[in-house]
């Protein structure tokens, strides 16, 4: 039976060649699309991983103030960690662009160089240039290159895996190889450069490490954090100035308390000594006064005056005697005597007051000594609580936290996700188109199937017969799609932007095994599944039912009364109802094709919105991230406090910046309030993490091993990064910083800041350019998606509309018999589709966009940006217009097809 039926397969293929050809084109395009996008992503992703293995990519890196000594290195080695020093200098080129070259020694073990051209330097006069910088400046092997007045010959062009994404600073938002590149010198040349003193900044003591089997990053980090140094060992004046102001307070505090304690003791001892003589002094002074009074009393008594002068009465008695005396000499003498006694008494009283005071002070010094003792203890306790010791470690970066490493791979994740999802939608679309074909074929051949049934042919025989053609077409098309894509015809275009941005070698396009299986197994498998499901349900009817081609009448068709309506309109409406399933097929096909198209649209919209929003939201011209800030911020800049935490979403960990600002910061339209919990977040942050006003969220501080919980108080329109805005004073307080601490400066003009104080400088131009990089990187994929989805869209529309017309072939033949002309037939059978497409497009364009908007965040889960995929309204009109134009083109093609339906068709099928 199968042998006989197989003959029909070829005849069916011939008969419906266009249909199967178009189906094949759709599958070829779909597979080509997926294999090209995903394959290209995988090629770059796997290529960089392989390169990392070959060049012994670091597990992480750290920087220190003072190079590690032999003991420390030996200890790290004992931990099972391999370390290599990869110290570097940043040298600012004297040209007008002021590009920066990062000078390294040639690496021995970790992060080895992979040469694109040439080879390693043979002597100190030769250098190796990093690929992207060399390309940007058109430098080639053999060229001379001047660094700090020394001419070097370029012996090689190379890439290194630790600068896959050649970011100058890890906080940079984008790479700019025109202004930043790496140069590798011989050890000798590096030493000469060191001695020349031509670097603008001090040497960075960077170490890279490879972990052993038992050691983890945290173990190494803890060890390094424990390495303390004397601040004076640090060879950086700016650091010293900063350290004196901040980190050196412990000694000052301790010394001050000690001095206070010593001084208190001295005072105490002195007062004690002083107190000891108080009694004798007072006693002696009393004796002098008593002696004076006694002598004066005796003298007066010798003159016959019975007087006994005391300390209490001498004043009155002497005044009385002076008053009563007639002798002027006597009066004068007594007055002098009284004056002397007054002085002695005054001295005695003063001395008593003094000794009383000394006594009191001495008593007070006990309390004072106790207080100083308490202060001393408290200061010591406080200082013990805080680690004022200077850790040698200045930065520690695990491989996974380093944005330079696997930057290409991370970027390509988006391509892969997008390609895979486009592939899934494509298969749904393919399955759908096949199912429509199958249903149409079975309905057309219903009487044949019924006849074969009645003659004893089994359902399985028929199943096998009907699935063979679509399965073979799906298999061959998948294979062709795979083979065409495997040639890498479009891969260079898709990968080109990556090669022009990342510092990676060019990899040959390779199709991973899973894509091969996907391409050759999935299409036929999908065809088998769809066919089996659809055919089985269709073949469940009785033989007689099939012979009669009984079709269930649609009840609503009968209910619609079009009495009095213009014939052509009524006919079209009836036709629409009759072909409701085909109508829905066209609309659904349009929807699925648009869904793929919308992936490209969302990519494009996101990129352009980022570029636009970054430009709009970035109000400052310069942002300086400071390593050693001056005590007082420049008056023409806005000081802020930035602190980086982490927050995860959809399996990826993102940096989130807590930014403490004043409420009148002119560069951010934010009122941060005075709360530590209720904060303002950037719109990009809210979009990425799905936050709404009033919602709680937590960020993680890996450095301090803490978690901070906040409530979204407000969302501000700010797209350039994930920011949590809060009041700078509250943030200083929360983070235990001083009242005047800041580490970021925002300014509307370039500030004169010593480069040594800076971690990084970000200009508005950098941010704007960084934003446009997204577009440049994604454009090839957007083009590929747009072109392929447009082709798929046209094919699906054509096939669906063709099926729709084929289903009406009998009626078209019939009205041809009556004398209808081609244009009139078109008016009745094709023009009615206009309304379907017009209304269907109105529904499915926004619908597909909404659905894709909800799916899209999962496709770009690893990308650090907001989710602004809002599309301007004119876009919808353009898409709508293009769909209608496509419809008219397809309509035009199908009009020619009307000629194929001859009037004789109706006569052939009369029995």
């Amino acid at each position: 039976m199968q042998k006989v039926l197989r003959k029909r397969v070829f005849r069916n293929l011939r008969k419906h060649f266009i249909r199967y050809f178009m189906l094949g084109i759709m599958i070829v395009m779909g597979i080509f699309l997926v294999v090209t996008i995903v394959g290209s992503g995988e090629t770059l992703s796997r290529g960089t991983v392989k390169l990392a293995e070959e060049t012994n990519l670091e597990d992480g890196e750290f920087e220190v103030f003072v190079p590690l000594n032999d003991d420390e290195l030996s200890h790290i080695s004992d931990m099972g960690v391999e370390v290599e020093d990869q110290f570097y200098y940043d040298y600012q080129m004297p040209d007008e662009d002021k590009g920066t070259l990062r000078l390294f020694k040639i690496r021995d073990k970790i992060n080895q160089l992979h040469y694109i051209a040439g080879n390693e330097p043979s002597d100190k006069n030769e250098i190796v240039m990093e690929k992207r910088y060399a390309r940007e400046h058109d430098l080639n092997v053999g060229d001379e290159f001047d660094i700090a007045g020394v001419d070097y010959k370029i012996s090689g062009i190379a890439v290194v895996s630790d600068y896959d994404g050649p970011l100058k600073e890890i906080s940079d938002t984008s790479c700019n190889s025109k202004y930043f590149g790496l140069v590798f010198l011989t050890k000798e040349a590096y030493e000469e450069f060191r001695k020349s003193g031509k670097a603008q900044k001090t040497e960075d003591y960077l170490y890279t490490y490879k972990l052993g089997t038992t050691t983890e990053d945290a173990d190494l980090k803890n060890y390094l954090k424990g390495l303390k140094i004397d601040a004076s060992e640090v060879d950086d004046e700016l650091f010293q100035e900063y350290w004196d102001r901040t980190g050196g307070v412990e000694d000052e505090l301790k010394d001050a308390v000690k001095e206070l304690r010593d001084a208190t003791q001295d005072v105490r001892d002195a007062l004690k000594e002083l107190s000891k003589n108080n009694y004798d002094i007072n006693k002696a002074t009393g004796k002098i006064l008593d002696s004076y009074l006694k002598q004066t009393s005796e003298a007066l008594n010798s003159y016959g005056m019975n007087v006994s002068l005391t300390e209490d009465n001498y004043d009155k008695e002497l005044d009385r005697i002076i008053e009563e005396s007639d002798n002027a000499i006597m009066r004068m003498s007594l007055k002098n005597t009284k004056y002397e006694i007054d002085n002695v008494k005054e001295y005695k009283d003063g001395l008593e007051s003094y000794t009383d005071a000394v006594e009191e002070i001495y008593d007070g010094t006990d309390d004072m000594a106790d207080g100083v003792k308490d202060l001393d203890m408290a200061v010591n306790d406080a200082l013990d609580g805080f680690d004022f010791g200077l850790s040698d470690l200045t930065a520690f970066l695990k491989r996974s936290d380093n944005p330079r490493i696997f930057a290409t791979k991370n970027d390509k994740l988006v391509d892969i996700e997008v390609g895979v999802i486009a592939g899934v939608i494509m298969f749904i679309l393919m399955a759908y188109v096949i199912s429509v074909f199958v249903v149409h074929s079975i309905e057309t051949e219903s009487s044949i199937i019924g006849t074969l049934y009645s003659m004893g042919v089994t359902k399985n025989d028929l199943l096998l017969h009907y699935i063979s053609l679509p399965v073979v077409v799906a298999f061959i098309s998948g294979l062709i799609g795979l083979l065409v894509a495997s040639t890498g015809i479009m891969a260079p275009m898709v990968a080109e932007s990556s090669y022009l941005y990342f510092s990676i070698p060019e990899f040959s396009f390779e199709v991973p095994k899973y894509l091969i299986i996907y391409s050759v197994v999935c299409p036929p498998l999908m065809a088998v599944i769809v066919n089996v499901l659809v055919i089985r349900s269709k073949l469940n009817r009785t033989a007689l039912s099939l012979i009669r081609n009984e079709v269930k009448q649609k009840k609503n068709n009968k209910k619609v009364s079009l009495k009095g309506m213009d014939f052509v309109k009524a006919f079209r409406i009836r036709q629409m109802f009759k072909e409701m399933r085909s109508t829905l097929a066209v609309v659904l096909g349009m929807f699925l094709a648009l869904l793929i198209f919308m992936i490209g649209v969302d990519c494009f919209t996101l990129c352009t919105n980022i570029a636009k929003d970054y430009t709009k939201d970035t109000k400052f011209e310069y942002m300086y991230t400071l390593k050693y800030p001056e005590k007082k911020a420049p008056s023409d800049a806005e000081a802020a406090y930035a602190y980086t935490c982490k927050k995860s979403a959809m399996g990826y960990n993102f940096d989130v910046t807590l930014l403490g600002i004043d409420d009148n910061n002119r560069f951010f339209d934010v009122n941060p309030g005075k709360s530590r919990t209720e904060v303002v977040v950037s719109s990009a942050f809210a979009e990425k993490f799905g936050l709404k006003k009033g919602k709680e969220f937590v960020v993680v501080d890996d450095e301090k091993e803490m978690r901070y919980a906040f409530i979204v108080g407000d969302i501000t329109s700010y797209s350039s990064g994930f920011f949590i805005f809060m009041d700078i004073d509250e943030m200083r307080d929360m983070m235990g910083e001083t009242d005047d601490y800041y580490n970021v400066l925002f300014s509307d003009k370039e500030l004169d800041i010593d480069p040594g104080r800076l971690y990084s400088t970000t200009s508005r131009d950098d941010i704007v350019k960084g934003a446009s990089v997204f577009t440049e990187l994604m454009m090839p994929m957007i083009y590929t998606l747009s072109i392929a989805s447009s082709v798929i869209f046209c094919v699906v529309m054509y096939l669906m509309m063709k099926v729709m017309i084929d289903r009406s072939s009998q009626n078209i033949s019939l009205i041809k018999v009556f004398g209808y002309r081609r244009n009139e037939i078109r008016k009745l059978y094709l023009d009615g589709n206009f309304y379907i497409i017009a209304i269907g497009a109105l529904i499915v364009i926004p619908l597909s966009k909404i659905i894709m908007n909800n799916m899209f965040p999962f496709m770009i889960a690893n990308v650090t940006c907001g989710m602004n995929v809002k599309t301007p309204i004119y876009f919808y009109f353009i898409v709508y217009g293009v769909i209608m134009i496509l419809y008219f083109v397809i309509n035009k093609l199908l009009v020619k097809r009307l000629d194929k339906y001859t009037p004789a068709e109706i006569l052939k099928n009369r029995e």
Binding site: N557, F567, F571, Q810, V817, F818, G819, R821, P903, R910
Partner: protein
């Protein structure tokens, strides 16, 4: 002669599958005549009807209707010929299932600027009360009457009927034939009826027999029996 068929030959297939269906048929029908073409299966009667209707082209010979040579006409001209001159009635009605009776008839009324009156035609054919029904809601006879109404609405000069009663029972067949007779009398429509039914020949003006692609016999029926009196339908 209104219909003039001269030495028409028609064949299908090639090589081993070559079949000559019409082997030089020559026949004529006067305007206003009802003519029956009879013959065994495969005799070529439907092919002859299709050739006259411009649905099938001929290999050689001449086929003229009202002086217009059908052979060699292009598609557009053939469409004009069919819309201006012909009406078709099929054995299996070929109504558009999703159009009502009235809408099915309008399919052909749309083609002419001088159609017959729709309501009068519906009345004549006994379809007034079914005008807004769909074909699936009608009996076989009602469906065939609808097909006839559709064919007649544009008042064709020539009505080609291919087994018009082939799918109907005896009583319904009689009703249809009475109707055709009435139309012929009322509008003077020339009719060519292909049928296996031997009784129909008694009601028409001319009878043509085809055998193996050739006219085996033809005669004018001088003793016509009204359709209502026909037996063994």
């Amino acid at each position: 002669m209104y219909v003039e068929v001269s030495n028409v030959k028609k064949s299908y297939g090639e090589g081993g599958s070559y079949v000559q269906v019409l082997k030089g048929v020559t026949v004529g029908v006067e305007q206003g005549e009802m003519c029956v073409i009879q013959g065994a299966s495969g005799s070529g009667k439907s092919t002859l009807l299709n050739c006259i209707g411009g649905l099938d082209d001929i290999d050689s010979g001449s086929c003229k209707v009202d002086g217009l040579e059908i052979a060699g006409l292009k598609q557009d001209a053939l469409s004009d010929y069919r819309r201006d001159t012909l009406g078709f009635i099929f054995q299996f009605y070929n109504l558009v299932p999703n159009l009502t009776v009235r809408e099915n008839i309008e399919v052909c009324r749309y083609l002419t600027s001088e159609p017959l009156d729709m309501d009068e035609l519906l009345e004549t054919l006994g379809l007034s009360e079914h005008a807004d029904k769909f074909p699936s809601q009608l009996s076989g006879g009602q469906q065939q009457r609808t097909a006839i109404a559709r064919a007649l609405i544009k008042n064709p000069k020539l009505l080609l009927c291919d087994e018009p009663t082939g799918a109907l029972d005896s009583n319904t067949s009689r009703d249809i034939l009475i109707l055709l007779e009435k139309i012929n009398e009322k509008y003077g429509t020339t009719m060519l009826i292909v049928t296996h039914n031997n009784s129909i020949k008694d009601m028409v003006h001319r009878v043509i027999y085809l055998k193996d692609g050739e006219i085996s016999r033809e005669y004018t029926n001088s003793n016509r029996i009204p359709a209502r009196e026909l037996e063994d339908l």
